[in-house]
């Protein structure tokens, strides 16, 4: 049975108020289309988790969807701070934002523990940092093989994880290349998984290169066909990062009024991602990736 549906349906069915939601993608493949749909459907009281909140979580915070954020680096990568995030933390606007803070390694281990149904995972990191002082979720375990004490982080088990990928079949068997980030671990840690893709392909395409399948259909709830669904972030082999927008976001997000205009123009004022990409106009062509194909390999026997 196909899991193909619109983003509207996928968010309506699988993202609920007060959910713990993860939209992953380390700089690469950030699921902006899904984030905009969540704003459009006015979800509230979400807990968002993600290594690098990036613009997408800044937009969700500014739009009033978020109660709490779990993260390890909150900035506009290569540009500066996240202003909506800072306003929420420093001034409690539009409302106070609870935060729970780790490091990248810690977040990765939290996802991996959740994906492995383990209560925790240990690391040699964290002696001496003040993070363990302000976040009581860091705890110590003594190695049964020595007297060493190691810091641990607890498993993270999201209600729903949303990822964007290059391609999937309608069962949700999903292939990603380029930067992997923590998408696989986050997806396996979750109760529900939404995958949006640049291209929906026949199973034969997936089956021609099974080592590239990062997320198997057995854990996927919904597949959404969403070309340019990661803009303004990038998709290896499809389009480059729209760095101009990352720079512009700095100005847009400094002020609640300019943010509201952005939201009206690019989210509330549009029905769906197709309308968004239509509005992008010629910019799409400018971001189009060059062609640099890999050397294919033989799976015969």
């Amino acid at each position: 049975m196909t899991k193909l549906m619109t983003m509207k349906d996928a968010v309506a069915r699988f993202v609920r108020d007060a959910d713990l939601v993860v939209m992953e993608g380390f700089t690469h493949l950030i699921p902006f289309a899904a984030g905009h749909e969540i704003i459009r459907q006015r979800r509230r009281d979400l807990t968002l988790a993600r290594l690098t909140p990036d613009l997408i979580y800044d937009q969700l915070i500014a739009a009033g969807c978020v109660r709490k954020m779990i993260f390890s680096w909150a900035g506009n990568p290569g540009v500066g701070p996240l202003h909506a995030f800072r306003r929420a933390v420093e001034q409690g606007r539009p409302h106070p934002l609870e935060i729970e803070e780790y490091t990248h390694f810690g977040m990765v281990l939290r996802f991996m523990a959740g994906a492995s149904d383990l209560p925790f995972l240990p690391t040699r990191n964290y002696p001496g940092t003040d993070l363990t002082r302000v976040n009581p979720a860091f705890k110590k375990v003594r190695s049964p093989y020595s007297d060493e004490e190691l810091w641990c982080v607890p498993a993270l088990r999201p209600d729903v994880t949303i990822v964007h990928a290059q391609r999937a079949d309608t069962d949700g068997n999903t292939q990603i290349w380029g930067l992997y980030g923590v998408q696989k671990e986050a997806a396996f840690a979750s109760r529900r998984v939404i995958v949006s893709v640049e291209e929906v392909v026949e199973p034969s395409v997936i089956r021609s290169d099974p080592n590239r399948t990062l997320i198997p259909g057995v854990i996927v709830s919904a597949v959404v066909h969403e070309p340019f669904g990661a803009h303004p972030s990038f998709v290896q082999g499809a389009y480059d990062r729209d760095n101009d927008f990352y720079v512009k976001w700095d100005a847009i997000s400094r002020d609640e009024a300019t943010f509201k205009t952005y939201l009206d123009d690019w989210v509330y004022g549009l029905d769906d991602r197709a309308a968004y990409t239509g509005k992008m106009g010629a910019r799409r062509g400018e971001l189009q990736a060059d062609r640099q194909m890999c050397a294919p390999v033989n799976y015969g026997f």
């Binding site: 700089t27 290569g78 490091t103 993070l131 990038f234 480059d240 990736a289």
Partner: protein, 257 residues
């Protein structure tokens, strides 16, 4: 004398810390330029790793972020972040990690989390990212930061990434190896005393004095007996930086000193 900016001097000085064959954890900006400069000058066998998972990168343009697609195309390997942290960093493969931050203190502790109190911050900064684990697990850390009383306080408001903590053997006693080796600012270069683990001024950039340093550092900083002058970048180095590494001046020209 060659014309150069302070940033170019910092890049050139940082590049000298890298040996051929080093495996280097690279960040954006000065670190990226330094590593690429070393790669072109004296360390062709150097291996660049970005925390995004790209290994052995040969970027065709100056990467805008650590997740720039140009780091992927043509690299030797692109691996999950779980592997970056477990198999490269924690495993002990990283020879040199570059770090920056909002504050660095007398014992090389770095703050990139908050200015003020954590619960009610004056300024909320981005947070650790991968910095804490690089500081804890790389064999050696090189720090770049501006030289001012604000950025070099006696004690950071928040230890995001551990240096030598309160000095002496505290870092070792917690089971951490490595530690900061060098702090490169826009005024000079600091090393860490072997016993006290305190930052000590080791060289002055041309044109700066101990007096200026003291006025721009948050504690009464010690000066090495054999204080030297930081060698300025060679003409070759500035040419590579300007023409090959950052031709549009994204990172350096705007800060030209």
């Amino acid at each position: 004398m060659t014309d150069y900016t302070t940033s170019e001097l910092m890049v050139s000085r940082a590049a000298k810390e890298l040996k051929n064959g080093d495996v280097v954890f690279v960040g954006i900006g000065v670190p990226s330029l330094a590593v690429n400069l070393a790669h072109r000058m004296h360390a062709p066998g150097l291996c660049m790793i970005y925390e995004s998972g790209a290994v052995g990168c040969v970027p065709k343009r100056l990467p805008i972020s650590i997740g720039d697609p140009c780091l992927v195309t043509g690299s030797l390997a692109v691996v999950p972040m779980l592997d970056v942290f477990n198999l490269y960093l924690q495993r002990g493969l990283i020879d040199v990690g570059f770090l920056g931050g909002a504050q660095v203190d007398r014992f090389g502790n770095i703050n990139s989390t908050v200015i003020g109190d954590y619960g009610k911050p004056k300024v909320r900064l981005p947070g650790s990212g991968g910095a804490c684990e690089i500081a804890a697990l790389a064999k050696k850390v090189v720090i770049t930061i501006a030289n001012s009383k604000r950025t070099l306080p006696e004690r950071v408001d928040f230890v995001t990434s551990p240096g030598y903590l309160r000095g002496g053997r505290e870092r070792e006693s917690l089971g951490l190896k490595g530690g900061p080796e060098l702090v490169i600012t826009d005024m000079g270069v600091y090393r860490f005393d072997r016993d006290s683990r305190e930052m000590v001024l080791a060289s002055l950039h041309p044109g700066f004095t101990v007096q200026t340093i003291k006025e721009n550092t948050g504690w009464d900083v010690k000066v090495a007996e054999n204080l030297t002058t930081t060698p300025p970048p060679t003409a070759d180095e500035t040419r590579i930086i300007r023409e090959e590494l950052d031709p549009q001046g994204v990172f350096l020209r705007s800060k030209a000193g």
